[in-house]
């Protein structure tokens, strides 16, 4: 038994003991992250656990910055670490140098994480998609100047639209700084505003090779772009974050070129066809109008314009005849009636009575005297005969009943 030592000495001793063990100096441990805390200093504190046990871990800022994915509780990881004791409290812990996602790998995890984050933020929403113009005056391309991509695009465009205009901003499509250079090129095209559509892409490769197109900085610049972006990254089976944010995703660079420019000959044929249809439609319309006009011209009213007047004249004459016939016969009847009436009247005329020898006696006022009662002796009376008047004086009144 040695002499007692201090706690500090013990902890330092255990730490030194552990650190000289090569197995613990560079140990790989797999498990699930739990109790993760990110400190303002940038260091991460967490535990890694399996079903039965757990161990404390610390990861310093310089290592954390190299992480491609964001560790969260529950993430299955493999850490490469040095096992030691923190001499302040004698706590056994792992000092993590490297953290990799267990299972599908770091890149896949980072990809899934960014994808779900940007999706939640709405960067993939169809409402943000810009339409690709049918006839761009110029096509912008963001890719490597040396790859097959630019060659394929130029080849396809030459075939479709011989007088196409293309501007390339050459970028690095993989390796350090590639994402930043791609993003900067997209932004640059937006500042220059010399093209109507952008093709952003690279050829096929591993997930590592395509990685720049899965980085947030590229996603953000594609989303920001006021110029529609066609994304053509990797092969048909590769889907990058850039593809999701882009306005259109093309399976290959050649397909992107096809989406960017129409076939000039087809467009010209379409216009010629439309012009022919315009002419034909107008021709048909005017033919229809001519037919209508012809049918109008052939109407009887225009062919024999006087016939209608002649017909009316005939009608009128007929009616006039009817009228005069009716009027004449009516006059004849009236004539006969008049003669009969005149005969009757003649028979009743008082003059006729006077001519038969009768006379009418009137007093001086012109009143016909019908009775002896109305006269006195010496009255002056007029006796009317058929051919004159006798002025008489009443000599004598003799009453007599007849």
């Amino acid at each position: 038994m040695n002499a007692p030592i201090s706690v500090s000495e013990l902890n330092r001793y255990v730490a030194a003991y552990l650190e000289q063990n090569e197995n613990l100096n560079q140990v790989q441990v797999k498990g699930e992250i739990s109790g993760l805390k990110a400190y303002p200093s940038g260091h991460l504190y967490f535990s890694i656990k399996d079903a039965n046990a757990s161990v404390s871990c610390v990861m310093f800022k310089s290592q954390v910055m190299k992480l491609r994915f964001k560790p969260v509780d529950g993430t299955a990881v493999i850490v490469t670490a040095k096992a030691s004791v923190y001499d302040r409290d004698g706590k056994f812990q792992l000092y993590v140098n490297l953290m990799q996602a267990d299972g599908l790998g770091d890149l896949y995890l980072a990809y899934e994480q960014l994808k779900s984050r940007l999706q939640a933020e709405g960067l993939f929403d169809p409402t943000h998609k810009l339409p690709v113009p049918r006839l761009p005056k110029a096509v912008g391309v963001v890719t490597s100047p040396a790859g097959a991509v630019i060659r394929d695009i130029i080849h396809v465009l030459s075939r479709r639209y011989p007088n196409f205009k293309l501007q390339l901003i050459p970028v690095q499509v993989q390796g350090d700084g590639s994402a930043a250079s791609i993003a900067a090129a997209i932004d640059r095209f937006n500042i220059l505003n010399t093209v109507d559509v952008l093709i952003v892409g690279r050829g096929g490769g591993s997930m590592e090779d395509l990685w720049a197109f899965n980085e947030e900085v590229v996603a953000r610049s594609v989303f920001r772009s006021k110029i529609p972006v066609i994304s053509a990254v990797g092969h048909e089976t590769d889907f990058t974050i850039c593809d999701f944010v882009a306005d259109v995703r093309a399976a290959t660079p050649s397909a992107a070129a096809e989406l960017a420019m129409p076939v000039r000959a087809e467009e010209e044929a379409k216009i010629i066809n439309i012009q022919a249809r315009l002419r034909l439609a107008l021709q048909k319309r005017s033919q229809l109008e001519t037919q209508h006009l012809d049918s109008l011209i052939n109407r009887p009213v225009l062919v024999q314009p006087l016939k209608i007047i002649e017909d009316k004249q005939k009608d009128l004459n007929f009616l006039l005849n009817l009228l005069s016939t009716a009027a004449l016969s009516r006059l004849n009847v009236a004539d006969r009636n008049l003669a009969i009436m005149a005969g009757k009247l003649d028979a009743l005329s008082p003059l006729k009575v006077l001519s038969r020898g009768y006379s009418v006696v009137r007093d001086q006022t012109g009143q016909t005297i019908q009775s002896t009662a109305f006269v006195q002796k010496d009255d002056l009376i007029d006796v009317w005969l058929s051919d004159g008047i006798l002025g008489c004086t009443v000599q004598q009144i003799k009453e007599r009943k007849f």
Binding site: P133, L135, P145, R151, I154, L168, R277, R279, A281
Partner: protein
């Protein structure tokens, strides 16, 4: 349709895109083909259609063939140089 006519009447062809012109053109043709417009309007539509189709044809020819690359200097200045297709 009314919109299409207005656009042409206002001589705003310079602002018209190729696809707008084509889609107006297609509307004009089907309107004219339907035959339910007056003769006067048919003639008007025909004239508009002819103008639009000429505009479209001009647009097709107006694209100027050029392949260039833009080199962005660290100070942000941009140099445009022809991009050779023979070496790619």
């Amino acid at each position: 349709m009314q919109e299409a006519i207005n656009l042409i009447d206002n001589r705003e062809q310079s602002k018209l895109t190729y696809e707008q012109a084509i889609s107006q053109l297609e509307k004009i043709v089907s309107r004219l083909e339907s035959g339910d417009v007056s003769l006067d309007e048919s003639v008007k539509l025909f004239q508009q259609g002819t103008e639009l189709s000429r505009f479209c044809a001009t647009q097709l020819a107006a694209v100027e063939h050029q392949i260039s690359q833009l080199i962005v200097a660290p100070d942000g200045s941009v140099t445009e140089t022809p991009f050779g297709t023979t070496d790619v």
